[in-house]
């Protein structure tokens, strides 16, 4: 019975310790609770309400009726209209819309002749999104064309599709730049959160806070080395992505650098904030996971952002990874200019600055 007694002693001790580590205990409850609710609602592989734009060059009522009919399917949500196809393409590059319907000026004639009606420009980078949009290719026109004399030529689709950025529809094209975001979230947040907590656990911090060093100096000094670590990781992921998976970088390398730098800074600051809350490295690790899971599932990495309900989208907006996911895909896949992604840029800069201030305030040079 001695072995059983010893095992029991360990079990009781573990349970007591677990119960007394309030943050860990909280995480035991919170991780499944919050994450289940969050993801149960948010994860939706049935894609709806994809934002698209319309370019109506025909100026005919038919185009408007057609647009309305397509809207009713709820697959797409027409959020903007543009004057030229060129403007619509630019909006796709910026990530504002995922596709555009282009109605040519001879639309009415095409209907009569049973020809292809117009063009559907699709952002092919996310294969889930593009598959959903491709359903519109053979959109039935029975509901609008009630004139029995007009019949569609059997082999003609409704729209001619132009698949941008990922014509072969390979999922790696979308996954690899996104993976940069996930890997950076994982390592950057964990590194910084553990870096300060480790000093506290090992007693170095007690000495450090008796010196004239300021909180903000310590915070900045802690962050900067890891920026280099982050950049090395980006080079590895994107380099291998190119060499092994043939995912090239369409955009400017400097833009890639700029965008990742912003994201690394934001992630490091997030880690710093965690380090001012966590007391042990284990707690820091758990809080990192708490951030990491939604960064994988809600940021648009696994499931299209557009397919998530509004509430989940708001949560996703809080995560630096969501903004980065948009920007890195825009730059790497669509060749976007980093400066054109104003909103996401500003958001990450704001997050970094405010986060740094919060961390410095929270980090007290005191023991009580």
């Amino acid at each position: 019975m001695a072995p059983l007694q010893r095992i029991l002693a360990i079990i009781i001790k573990e349970l007591k310790q677990l119960g007394r580590d309030r943050l860990t205990f909280g995480m035991v409850i919170m991780i499944p609770l919050i994450q289940l609710l969050m993801f149960g609602y948010a994860i939706n592989t049935d894609v709806r309400n994809i934002p698209i734009g319309v370019v109506n060059q025909s100026d005919s009522a038919v185009a408007r009726i057609l647009t309305e009919t397509i809207k009713v399917t709820q697959v797409v949500d027409v959020v903007a209209s543009y004057n030229t196809p060129d403007e619509a393409e630019k909006a796709i590059v910026r990530g504002e819309i995922r596709g555009a319907l282009i109605f040519p000026n001879d639309l009415t004639k095409r209907i009569v002749q049973g020809e292809v009606l117009g063009q559907l420009v699709v952002d092919g980078s996310d294969t889930v999104i593009s598959s959903a949009l491709l359903q519109l290719r053979n959109f039935p026109l029975d509901e609008i064309i009630i004139e029995p004399n007009l019949s569609r030529k059997a082999n003609k689709p409704t729209f001619e599709v132009a698949l941008f950025f990922n014509p072969s529809r390979r999922s790696q094209v979308n996954i690899i730049p996104g993976l940069v975001g996930i890997i950076l979230t994982m390592t950057m947040v964990l590194f910084t959160s553990a870096a300060i907590v480790r000093e506290r656990e090992q007693g170095n911090l007690e000495l450090l806070i008796t010196t004239p060093i300021r909180s903000i100096e310590l915070m900045i000094g802690k962050i900067l080395p890891y920026i280099i670590v982050g950049l090395i990781q980006v080079v590895i992921v994107l380099g291998l992505g190119y060499l092994v998976f043939d995912v090239g970088i369409t955009g400017n390398l400097f833009d890639v650098f700029l965008v990742t730098l912003l994201f690394i800074a934001a992630s490091l600051v997030l880690g710093l904030i965690i380090s001012t809350i966590a007391k042990t490295q284990l707690q820091a690790m758990q809080m990192t996971i708490f951030v990491l899971l939604p960064s994988i599932l809600l940021s648009g990495f696994m499931f299209p952002y557009e397919a998530m309900p509004k509430a989940a989208q708001y949560i996703a907006e809080l995560l630096p990874a969501t903004h980065f996911m948009r920007m890195i895909r825009a730059v790497v896949l669509k060749g976007a200019d980093a400066t054109s992604l104003v909103y996401d840029n500003l958001w990450l800069i704001g997050f970094t600055v405010i986060g740094l201030i919060i961390a410095s305030i929270r980090f007290k040079k005191r023991l009580d």
Binding site: G203, L207, T210, T211, P212, K365, L367
Partner: protein
């Protein structure tokens, strides 16, 4: 305490108190520590030594009371004070994965020493604290004594006017302890005020001034010599058989303050009001082969008389 005298004091506190919840860790502490002296806190673990030191360097906020350290009001002006104090923590707190030189360089840079001066200062400290052979060794693999010398070197890097040492020799052997104190006397000689906490009697005896702390309160203060002279008890060494029984017999008398066995002897503290302590014992205990001698009081005896317990007993009570 006259106000114009305060200039002579490196540390001056009035009613300094720290409570953690319902526990009073430091209770109404009045300190006046002269500039340039070595001042000791003697007491068992949990008596408030570390808490007091942490309050005096601004790491903990006092619950009540005032403190002035090097002329700075604490905790309000703690940041300004930090340039002038060195602090050697109870637990070794430099970086185990850096070498001796790297650690010293780091601390020097944190204190803003300029590059060229830092280099000569590090060489100076390495030779003064006998770390030449370990210069490029990673600290984690060094012995307790070497780590302690490094910690002292790091804490005096910026030539602080005031040095806090929190149980500096708890991890080293007696020989290293003696060497360490030689270094402290050198520092004191050059004008550094040193506040050191300890639970070792031999260490306490080396201080210029000593405060005996028990459960956050000061029980006695003075030079070690004065404390031993003014002890409120006579010390009698008793030799005999059946010492364990003898001890419990003696403790039954209220005049006997304490009895501690030391090998084949009992060290008995008898109240000062008893005019002939040896006679007193002999009349109380009817044992013909009892051999009694008067002895000089030690610091341990002082500690026992002011706190009513030996240092290890007090520690045990504190932990319970």
């Amino acid at each position: 305490m006259r106000i114009n005298n305060r200039d002579n004091f490196a540390i001056y506190t009035q009613g300094l108190t720290k409570k953690f919840g319902s526990l009073t860790a430091v209770n109404q502490l009045n300190l006046s520590i002269e500039t340039g002296s070595i001042y000791g806190f003697l007491g068992p673990n949990g008596c408030g030594k570390s808490t007091t030191i942490r309050m005096l360097c601004g790491l903990l906020t006092p619950t009540s009371g005032t403190a002035e350290v090097m002329g700075f009001a604490i905790p309000q002006q703690a940041e300004a004070l930090k340039k002038q104090v060195g602090y050697m923590t109870q637990k070794f707190s430099l970086y185990g994965d850096l070498t001796v030189v790297e650690n010293l360089k780091f601390m020097g840079q944190i204190f803003g020493l300029n590059h060229r001066y830092l280099k000569t200062r590090i060489d100076e400290l390495i030779s003064r604290y006998n770390l030449l052979a370990q210069k490029d060794q990673r600290v984690a693999s060094m012995s307790g004594g070497q780590k302690q010398r490094l910690a002292l070197a790091a804490s005096v890097m910026h030539k602080p006017a005031l040095l806090f040492l929190d149980e500096p020799t708890s991890a080293v052997d007696p020989e290293n302890r003696r060497d360490f104190w030689e270094k402290l006397f050198d520092l004191s000689e050059s004008g550094t005020t040193i506040l050191v906490s300890t639970h070792y009697m031999d260490e306490a005896e080396r201080c210029h001034q000593l405060a005996i702390l028990e459960r956050g309160a000061m029980k006695a203060e003075g030079t070690p010599e004065k404390l031993m002279q003014e002890i409120a008890a006579e010390v009698v060494e008793v030799k005999g058989s059946h010492l364990r029984q003898l001890k419990s017999q003696l403790l039954a008398f209220p005049e006997i303050k304490s009895v501690a066995q030391q090998g084949i002897r009992l060290r008995v503290l008898v109240d000062k009001n008893v005019s002939h302590p040896i006679e007193f014992i002999k009349t109380k205990i009817t044992d013909e082969d009892l051999e009694c001698n008067m002895a000089h009081p030690s610091l341990e005896d002082v500690f026992v008389t002011v706190t009513g317990n030996s240092i290890s007993e007090t520690a045990n009570k504190g932990n319970a």
